[in-house]
């Protein structure tokens, strides 16, 4: 090449731009607002991802561009301006505060009620820590035990680098990039998340909790989680934290994919407590999550969730019961107070023969909130002897809130057995007076009644999580009855 033309220069500039993301200052910790192919590439470069990952993100982005935000859910909110968001910011390593005195007292009060230790309070609210020895040593022992069993548990960014073959094989197989608007967006720009692989026949000896990872890196608004349980393995996975999460990011769109191969079992428990906005309905997180699991033959997936946070929640953890004799379960407690809106439920897609699903949904509405259950039970023509049992109970507090149930059933096989039960009740003044008369004040009485109402689901949570979740329900409903 002896003649260097203007065209060549332009071409070179273009590729260089792509390579280094000229539009975006790669060195900066936060990208400018807006979303385009360059931003998507820049995220991928920043995370030192292989080409296939970049291409995968771009494919997702191109699909997303053509999609429109869904509006079928029973929620009302101001649509986010997707060009007004910054899609990358480095995990905040620097503590925001020097001491707990600088932290919002309301937040500290909640921590106290949840019984969170001082050290943990500091960690959670971003205060500089002097004593970290404890958690480091715990995390180290933890990693060692897992390593001995061949279990991989790391951030998805690390996994993309260290176990590209596994990630590449499974990512997007349960929730394809084009699945829905938010899943497509997440696929294009996901910041980080967790990756977990349990080898064949291994029973994970402890509850895997994102807690251990979150302390190392911030969560971010577009989280991506991939859990693979190889044949005959078992894992119980805990996501989230009962501590209230304040976040400047209004929009959260996570994707969780679970893969349970033959004879494997995954138990996935979530406690979600994003900032729900203040009592007047200002602020608060929009939580639009896509969670889905795939069951091969004889496999089982259980979703258990306690949802108390977010201003707007849109979330349907689902199971694709592909293999014969596979089992899907969904246990959910969704609490809404003040001006919160939740549209949540599940989809059970029965493809294999003798597949079984159970849905237990408990919705608790207080204040001026709206709480909807939306569930789909689908029995495909080949799913002989499929069975489903659904129970949706709503508990109302006061006269200004709403509870709604939208059960959809599509049965294309005559051998299917589907049962659906639904109840709506109110906390009665007589119940409260009865408790009062035994020395239990009204706030505590409500907590007791709500816990009783939610018991079937709370029982499904791992022990220590259940205790925290109980306290969380109590706190979420504080001040909801005059």
């Amino acid at each position: 090449m002896n003649k260097y033309t203007e065209d060549d220069l332009r071409e070179e500039l273009k590729t260089k731009e792509y390579e280094y993301g000229f539009y975006t200052d790669i060195e900066s910790d936060t990208f400018p607002n807006g979303l385009n192919e360059d931003i998507v590439k820049a995220i991928s470069i920043k995370k030192e991802e292989p080409q296939w990952m970049t291409d995968w993100r771009l494919e997702a982005f191109r699909t997303w561009k053509e999609m429109t935000e869904p509006d079928w859910a029973n929620v009302n909110y101001k649509k986010p301006d997707f060009q007004g968001i910054s899609y990358y910011s480095a995990p905040n390593k620097k503590p925001k505060y020097n001491s707990l005195d600088e932290v919002d007292p309301e937040l500290l009060e909640t921590f106290k009620k949840l019984g969170i230790s001082l050290d943990e309070q500091k960690k959670l609210s971003g205060v500089a820590m002097d004593v970290v020895v404890d958690s480091v040593s715990v995390a180290t022992t933890f990693k060692k035990t897992l390593g001995e069993k061949g279990i991989i548990f790391m951030s998805i960014s690390e996994a993309i680098k260290e176990h590209p073959e596994l990630v590449r094989k499974y990512i997007g197989t349960v929730v394809p990039q084009k699945d829905n608007f938010y899943a497509a967006l997440n696929s294009a720009v996901f910041s980080d998340g967790s990756f977990c692989y349990i080898p064949k026949g291994v029973r994970c000896p402890m509850e895997l909790s994102t807690y251990f990872r979150i302390n190392q890196a911030g969560t971010g608004q577009f989280e991506r989680t991939l859990v693979i349980a190889d044949e005959g393995s078992y894992v119980s996975y805990l996501e989230g934290c009962t501590a209230p999460s304040r976040d400047e990011n209004q929009l959260h769109a996570a994707v969780v994919e679970l893969i349970a191969l033959n004879d494997a079992e995954i138990k996935y428990s979530t406690v979600q407590n994003w900032y729900p906005g203040n009592a007047e309905g200002k602020g608060g997180v929009y939580n639009f999550v896509t969670k889905r699991g795939l069951c091969e033959t004889n496999a089982k997936i259980s979703w258990t969730q306690v949802e108390t946070g977010s201003a707007v929640t849109w979330k349907y953890p689902s199971c694709i019961l592909k293999g014969d004799n596979s089992v899907g379960e969904f246990y959910s407690i969704a609490v809404t107070n003040n001006f919160q809106q939740a549209d949540t439920g599940t989809k059970m897609i029965h493809l294999g023969k003798n597949t079984k699903s159970t849905i237990i949904s408990k919705g608790i509405s207080a204040g001026k909130s709206q709480n909807s259950y939306r569930g789909l039970v689908k029995i495909s023509p080949n799913a002989d002897n499929a069975r489903n049992f659904s129970q949706c109970d709503s508990l109302l507090m006061g006269n200004e809130c709403g509870a709604h149930t939208f059960p959809y059933i599509e049965a294309k096989n005559k051998t299917a057995r589907i049962e659906h039960e639904a109840t709506t009740s109110k906390i009665g003044e007589d119940q409260i007076f009865y408790c009062n008369q035994r020395g239990i004040n009204t706030e505590k009485a409500i907590a007791l009644i709500v816990n009783g109402f939610s018991k079937d689901v709370l029982n499904k949570l791992p022990m220590e999580f259940a205790v925290e979740a109980q306290k969380l329900l109590e706190i979420s409903l504080e001040g909801s009855v005059g």
Partner: protein
């Protein structure tokens, strides 16, 4: 212990109690009888502090303190217990859990620590034995699917657990068969001492054969129209309420 002076109370703007005077001293057992709708349960609710009931006149003193402004739970903490005529169901909350909460909330109000689990279990065992309650029963949801008799026995079990100063038993005898009645009455008698008091509400004299009252009062149309001793109960049993109506000329 309890002193009620000229108590008037109404619910939903309907005046129900119309000038009640009653004094109960430590160690005493009082019975209130009267036809349906005369205001017996209302009186019990007013003493316990139910909010729907408005005290329009008069006073209620408990241990020398005017309790009219006290919340129901504060009255409970001070030692007022009501065995409900119609106990409510609380699904998903076991009898044990409910009692544990009640006891610890009461302790908290008195500035005490939670009762250690060991002591709680011991107490539960002891009181369940006293009332011949099967321990399996205690892990069932409170009052859910209980028979009428089970509900009443459970009320008295709670009373035994909380050891109140003043126990108001609102028609605790109804729904109990004769064996259960004997067990419940026996429980009440065992818990009775010179420092506490019982207010029995019933319209049968049957219960009074087992728990013998020091005084019997007849409540009619929101007023205590006649007071006497145990003999009065027998008289009512034999003659019904009509003669009282005539006597008091209402």
């Amino acid at each position: 212990m309890l002193k009620i002076k000229n108590l008037h109370a109404s619910v939903a703007d309907k005046s129900i109690l119309r000038g009640i005077n009653l004094e109960i001293k430590p160690g005493e057992v009082h019975a209130i009888m009267g036809p349906n709708g005369s205001g017996k349960s209302t009186l019990a609710s007013v003493i316990a502090g139910k909010e729907d009931y408005e005290v329009t006149d008069g006073e209620i003193f408990f241990e020398g303190e005017d309790i009219n402004e006290f919340a129901p739970e504060e009255r409970a903490h001070k030692g007022v217990f009501l065995s409900f005529q119609y106990p409510v169901e609380i699904p998903g909350v076991s009898v044990t859990n409910f009692m544990k909460t009640a006891i610890n909330e009461t302790r908290k109000a008195k500035g005490l620590e939670d009762m250690p689990a060991k002591d709680m279990l011991k107490l539960i065992r002891e009181k369940a034995e006293l009332l011949e309650i099967d321990r399996k029963f205690l892990s069932r949801s409170l009052n859910e699917g209980f028979s009428g008799g089970e509900k009443k026995r459970n009320e008295i079990f709670q009373m035994a657990m909380l050891e109140p100063k003043l126990a108001i038993l609102d028609e605790t005898d109804s729904g109990l068969d004769i064996d259960a009645l004997r067990i419940v009455a026996n429980g009440v008698n065992k818990l009775k001492n010179k420092d506490n008091a019982v207010l029995l509400i019933t319209h049968y004299q049957r219960l009074l054969d087992y728990i013998v009252p020091d005084y019997v009062h007849v409540l009619y149309k929101g007023k205590i129209v006649k007071s006497g001793t145990k003999e009065l109960a027998h008289e009512l049993e034999a003659k019904g309420y009509d003669w009282i109506k005539e006597e008091v000329n209402i």
